[in-house]
């Protein structure tokens, strides 16, 4: 499975956030969106990728960016996990059919039955501008996506901007 690349229109999806709340990607149009696919809630470290992004929200807000976590866990797990870790960003449940959105973005692992650890930066117009799939077990940090956000902000409104993946900021080449 290959992850969707930069310049691709981000496929729309609608997933549950809470028992009575749905979130659609198209609702978030107008601001940059960072989709954070991750394998599972309750990873056994307190300082996982989501905790890091939660800590760095002020940095993301400087770019007006919305962070969205997505895993195959159910909403009740997400709610408990968010509360326990004091997350301020939505976690969406890619639960039924399982992993459908992860498959849509090319980051579902058949082997583990979970999403891979992957990042997609989607611009205000709904186009993927940068994507990154982490090597197994490696948490990518925030520097790559923050650099990509900074470049988008610098080139706002310029549709001729070079493909970000050609710039020296893609951690995976």
């Amino acid at each position: 499975m290959t992850a969707l690349k930069a310049k691709t229109l981000a496929p729309n999806f609608t997933l549950q956030r809470t028992p009575d709340q749905l979130v659609s990607l198209s609702d978030l149009r107008g601001k940059p969106v960072v989709l954070v696919f991750y394998p599972a809630d309750w990873s056994p470290v307190c300082s996982d990728q989501l905790a890091l992004y939660n800590e760095l929200l002020p940095e993301f807000y400087e770019f007006d960016a919305q962070i969205i976590g997505i895993s195959v866990d159910g909403i009740w797990s997400h709610l408990a996990f968010s509360k326990d870790r004091k997350f301020h960003t939505p976690l969406l449940s890619d639960f039924e059919p399982k992993g459908a959105v992860a498959r849509l973005y090319g980051v579902y692992s058949e082997k583990t039955g979970e999403a891979e650890r992957a990042l997609f930066l989607i611009d205000a117009e709904g186009v993927i501008r940068w994507s990154y799939v982490s090597p197994v077990g490696i948490n990518p940090g925030a520097d790559g996506v923050l650099k990509a956000l900074a470049l988008i902000a610098q080139n706002k409104g310029d549709s001729t901007i070079p493909e970000l993946s050609q710039l020296p900021l893609k951690p995976n080449s």
Binding site: C46, S47, Q49, A51, E59, I138, N139, P140, G141, P171
Partner: protein, 181 residues
């Protein structure tokens, strides 16, 4: 392959450095005083320091995860306030060795235990210099690709293994051997 994250900026005189400043090996930790995994790594670092002796300099930079750990920032401020009295490592070690008891009220007690002037300590906490220093460390951590705590860099390159003695000493010794050539 994945080019590893690189320490930015490199270690300088402004850092908290333990060990020989000309040592061939530099181990940098981005840490949070309330993070239990940093607490668990503390004795591992001590053991690595004992094993490598003058071959290693150890550097600590602050990366408090304040959303997860409500006392991480005040503890970092306490260690930085101790640094202003040249007792950074004493306070740093004391906090990690008593991490389970960490709360704001105990910090002045601990400051006294490590021999700090309490008035100066109290004045420094929350003041510009101390919090600026922590913010700078945090910013450097983001730029360096810190992906959680503890996050280690060995001779400037992020170490992605576990924070256990055997795998860390293996990478450090490998570095040492390659720098001998």
């Amino acid at each position: 392959m994945n080019p590893s994250a690189t320490l930015t900026p490199p270690v300088s005189a402004g850092d908290h450095v333990a060990g020989d400043s000309n040592a061939p090996l530099t181990l940098v930790e981005y840490g949070d005083y309330q993070c239990p995994y940093c607490g668990a790594a503390h004795p591992v670092i001590k053991r690595i320091q004992r094993t490598l002796g003058r071959e290693l300099r150890f550097v600590f930079r602050n990366f408090p995860l304040t959303q997860a750990h409500p006392y991480a920032m005040i503890a970092a401020e306490a260690a930085e306030a101790a640094a202003l009295q040249q007792k950074f490592w004493e306070m740093h070690d004391f906090i990690y060795e008593h991490q389970d008891d960490l709360e704001p009220d105990v910090l002045p007690v601990w400051a006294r235990r490590v021999g700090l002037n309490l008035e100066e300590f109290g004045n420094a906490i929350g003041k510009g210099g101390v919090s600026t220093r922590i913010k700078e460390d945090r910013l450097s951590g983001i730029k360096s690709g810190v992906n959680g705590t503890p996050c280690f860099f060995i001779n400037g390159v992020r170490y992605d293994g576990t924070a256990d003695y055997e795998p860390m000493i293996a990478v450090l010794k490998e570095q040492l051997n390659s720098s001998d050539i």
